[in-house]
Amino acid sequence: MTNPVQALNSARVRGWLYQALFLACTLAVAWYLVSNTLTNLATRGVATGFGFLHREAGFEIGESLLSYTASDTYLKALAVGLLNTLAVSAAGVVLASVLGVLIGIARLSSNWMVNRFATLYVETVRNVPLLLQLVVWYTIMNRLPSPREALEILPGIFLSNRGMKFPVLVEHAGHGWVLLALVAGIAAAFAVVRHGRRRREATGKPFPTLPAAIAAVLLPPAVAFIATGAPLAFDVPALAGFNFEGGGSVTPEFTALLIGLSVYTAGFIAEIVRSGILAVPHGQTEAGLALGLSPGKILRLIILPQALRVIVPPLTSQYLNLTKNSSLAVAIGYPDLVSVSNTSANQTGQVVEAVAMMMLVYLIISLAISGFMNWYNRRVALVTR
């Protein structure tokens, strides 16, 4: 049997000792904080628990994807907030990716002027706080002319201080079928791409993947469209009295938040795209040329697959950042999850529950996004021996 002094010299025993100490300290601090919180809540007469979720919220929410009134429950109000967060994040991710890839490629342009414009964009957007940019976009949205003098940025799309108005398709039963056909077409396109890759890997013969995939996506909806005879009519917003009638619309808050988030994140995505493309050694392009591949094929078969490997992990964090940054909505009055939680916490006094739920929801969103992107990353990652 080793004596206690010798045992203390063993790394394993000391490890256990340190951990026990650490745990004891953590628990003591946690217990202290929790007991303080409970005492404070008791003296302020605040109830605890999640019962408040089923009470009437009593506040209006400016925009909502669900039907919501002030007499609905807090739970529903929070659901509205969550959906608003998801809506603006999803739209922002798409817009920011498109803009970011374009600017990232422009940063690599051999055209000196295009190159400088892209650099100017990146340096400006990345070095000014997002909140400042959002406030500026929101102020601009609010000081746009009234609907009567609305700006027509594209035919049928109007910007005014009431937000953005755009044409939407007139609803018809046939559209459901067209949508279904589109889903089927996308599935078919995936099958075509897979088949093309299998054949190329098995036989070495090229397969016209891109045209075939485009045809697979577009043909079924076109057939369905003609077969059901759905009308291609748009409900174009038109001025009636002091406001627009018809068409779809988004509020100034949503528009400002979407533009701000996309423009800001695009600056970061551009840098990721640029570094991803630069990370592919030039010898790869030369090898492709030596094989006699066309520039388009080199880009699609050699450069992009290797660049994606470098791009996907940092791109994931940018998507996460965009989603989390959508919480700045609270500053410009867009009713996102944070803003609704904050209002609920203020009204009920149940701050701890509201903050805990808000954090939990964001954690779940973060995990979901990074889970999906990690899955995608595994697919594009380099297989090393």
């Binding site: 490890g15 414009f117 940019q133 944070v338």
Partner: protein
């Protein structure tokens, strides 16, 4: 566009007798020195004639696509630059009242002239505003000095301690004949500067501990660190700030209150520490395993190994990501406006709500944006310089 046309490939002689057209381009090599290199680092292939013309041809009009893009850019410049120049400078009004601005067609910089004290110092007592000015000047001077390689000596820490005491005296007052100013009257640039620098300074040691904990072989400590880092990185800073501002008072025993500024600082510190910890972890992972083994073979203890062998190398590697994190923290400071603190952005927003100057919001935001831009841009340039400095000995 990505380069892949054959014309861009610099010819490489491989055989004993290169083809004739290769030789032709070699002969042109010496004259290339006069033309500037292209943006992508390649030199122009056929420089002849007057340098600016050949440069323009090679960089702007070398392919049909580039010609089209260049023309589009020129059109954009023509559309944007003259109106901008008119608005920013030529037609701007630089002084006087809002009436003068209404008559001028351009920007109204008089709003900055009138409101600059509010934007910079918020609600700090007007007659005492030389004090925050002096404090900020001291602070910026110390920041600048800390960036100089020759000043990285132990006395710098002492100088910082003195500066901080000096700033505290200047801002609070109450001694040496200065009147006392409670910190809820502070605002503007001092708040932005102090919150960002203090949160970073406090987060840095914390982040090293967290990163070490995450790499530790002790499961309890590792789990705690992983949990903390992932929790903080998974939620938005706004929610951390809300938590700090509304939940900290609940955590504390009755009767003890913590200042609003301090609560925001605590929230920002915890948040920044989680992000910095991941940067530091990157550096720890980049240290070759042999370094750890060599330290173990020398019989060094864990802390000796960490402080003498591992951390010095790891921190040098991660200087650029750390500075990038500093830039984000500086920008994120503007978020404290959401929990009701009076930083530079809040002060600017308040300035735009004055009915007299309400139409001139753009000027105020351009000015505030420029302030942030100057700090962030200089930090990012500094990080590039640091990166070169850190790689000086590792480059071949």
């Amino acid at each position: 566009m990505i380069k892949h046309s054959q014309a861009d490939q610099a010819p490489i002689p491989t055989g004993p007798v290169p083809p004739a057209h290769w030789a032709a381009s070699y002969e042109e090599e010496p004259s290339q020195a006069s033309t500037p290199p292209q943006a992508n680092g390649m030199t122009a292939l056929k420089p002849f004639g007057w340098a600016p013309i050949s440069w323009t041809r090679n960089n702007l009009f070398n392919t049909p696509l580039n010609t089209a893009l260049s023309l589009a850019c020129l059109a954009l410049l023509w559309l944007v630059v003259p109106p901008m120049a008119n608005w920013l400078l030529l037609n701007a009004s630089w002084s006087g009242s809002s009436e003068a601005c209404r008559e001028a067609a351009g920007a109204c910089w008089s709003v900055i002239v009138v409101k600059h004290r509010l934007i910079f110092f918020g609600t700090y007592p007007y007659d005492e505003q030389w004090r925050p000015f002096l404090a900020c000047a001291l602070f910026v001077a110390m920041l600048g000095a800390s960036g100089v390689r020759a000043f990285w000596r132990p006395w710098l820490a002492g100088a910082w301690a003195l500066t901080l005491v000096g700033m505290g005296v200047l801002m609070w007052g109450g001694v040496a004949g200065l009147s006392y100013v409670p910190n809820d009257r502070w605002g503007g640039l001092p708040i932005t500067l102090m919150l960002s620098v203090f949160s970073i300074a406090l987060a840095f040691p914390l982040s090293i501990l967290l990163a070490l904990g995450r790499q530790s072989s002790l499961p309890a400590i590792r789990t705690f660190c992983v949990g903390f880092i992932e929790l903080m990185r998974g939620v938005p800073l706004v929610s951390v700030l809300f938590m700090a501002s509304v939940m900290f008072p609940l955590f504390l025993p009755e009767g003890v209150t913590v200042d609003k500024l301090l609560r925001a600082l605590a929230g920002m510190t915890l948040f920044t520490a989680a992000y910095l910890a991941e940067a530091v972890r990157g550096g720890l992972q980049a240290i070759p395993k042999g370094q750890y083994e060599a330290a173990d073979a020398l019989g060094l203890s864990y802390w000796q190994k960490t402080m003498l062998i591992v951390l010095p190398q790891a921190l040098r590697i991660v200087i650029p990501p750390i500075v990038n994190q500093f830039i984000s923290a500086f920008k994120d400071t503007s978020l404290v406006t959401i929990v009701g603190l009076y930083d530079l952005l809040t002060a600017a927003t308040v300035a735009t709500t004055d009915p007299e100057w309400r139409p001139y919001f753009a000027e105020v935001y351009v000015f505030a944006g420029l302030m942030f831009w100057i700090f962030c841009f200089s930090m990012s340039r500094y990080s590039q310089w640091l990166e070169r400095l850190a790689n000086r000995y590792t480059r071949r």
